[in-house]
Amino acid sequence: MTNHFTEQTPEASCMEALQTAGRIIMENGGETYRAEETVNRMGTGLGLENVESFAVPSGLFISYRGEDGNPVTSVKRVRRLGRNLTRVDEVNQVSRKVFTGEMNCAAALARLREIDAMPGAFRGIWSLPAAFLCACGFTALFGGGWLAIAIAGVVAALVQGMETLLDRFRNRGLTASVVGGFVTALLPHLLVFVIPDLQVELIIAGAIMPLVPGLAMTTAVQDTMRGDMVSGLSHGAQAILTAFLIAGGALLAVAVIRQITGGAI
């Protein structure tokens, strides 16, 4: 007797490979046009006929003509939204190999599962030095002195640590943007009580940089340029909303400080 839950037909495993490739791209900050192109090229490379795909930021639809001549369609809901461009790049490499015939369906699926399980190089506590470096670099760029550079780096690393904690409670995203903006603006203002001549504005500007939605902005432009208005507007709205939430957090911090100091700052 065939166990339908553990054994897949070659066609079903091809569909799973296409779904997995598209899903990984969309879950890790890739553009929707890239997910569609990857699915189409991989499908063509795997010998499937009439491959069509349609992706929106929250889902992926794939269709092709099955062996019996009838259309085969699948729908994949995309829920998790992260930022891991190494995974997107790895899927791209798999897609290239499938398209040129260097990789078959089973090998592609196995590799895609590996990519899906691949941890990020700078996750958890390792993201703190990255945030430190980012904030230090940008504070120097904005004209900050050595002390401002160092403080901005420490503030950004602390905020990154908080984001990592929020992530553990599945609360990353918009909440993290508000909290990040708040803490980033609050800490330098509090330090002014200890170090009066601190370059507060430059520290905040530098420390806020690891939070800015640079990837969402790039993705929005890329999708819009390819004529994918739905995804472009969706990513653009996400970028603008994130930016305003970070700024909103900073606004709260400034308001709190003004209350504490009676409007002196």
Partner: protein, 152 residues
């Protein structure tokens, strides 16, 4: 600030700042160095344009435009997704300071100045988008029939 220090800050600051940002979004390791170089180049174009008298929005547009062209060229050569380098080209000119200043003014009930900063930040974002878009369009025209165009 002396000119040499401004240039040094532009190159070193945008390089390390962007490499740190690239690490945070898990850019492939082989692209870290190139990401930093693209960011420095893009910021230098912006800074240079400002220095010779172009307006801020025009300078941002040109920085994003030439940065995106260089980024897409790099993506093609290294066979890495273009998003990595496009993001690197724009991160140094993202108006983080402008948005913060806007909110700081609004918190002090200085609505006019806050609105002014907000509009400036929005113009900057629009110029970045235009620069990226224009760079992408030129690149697409130049490489329309190239086989190496796969997934860039």
């Amino acid at each position: 600030m002396p000119l040499w220090e401004e240039i040094l800050r532009a190159v070193v600051g945008s390089f390390f700042g962007t490499v740190g940002f690239a690490m945070l979004v898990h850019v492939p390791k082989r692209a870290w160095l190139a990401s930093g170089v693209i960011a420095s180049f893009s910021y230098l174009v912006y800074w240079g344009c400002l220095h010779i008298g172009f307006s801020d929005p025009t300078s941002i547009f040109l920085g994003a435009f030439f940065g995106s062209l260089a980024g897409l060229l790099c993506a093609r050569r290294m066979k890495i997704i273009g998003t990595v380098f496009l993001m690197s080209a724009v991160v140094p000119v993202v108006p983080g300071l402008g948005l913060y200043r806007m909110m700081a003014f609004l918190a002090q009930n200085r609505i006019g100045e806050g609105a002014d900063m907000g509009i400036r930040a929005m113009i900057t974002i629009a110029m970045i988008a235009l620069g990226l878009g224009a760079g992408g369009m030129i690149d697409k025209m130049l490489h329309a029939h190239s086989l190496r165009n796969h997934h860039i």
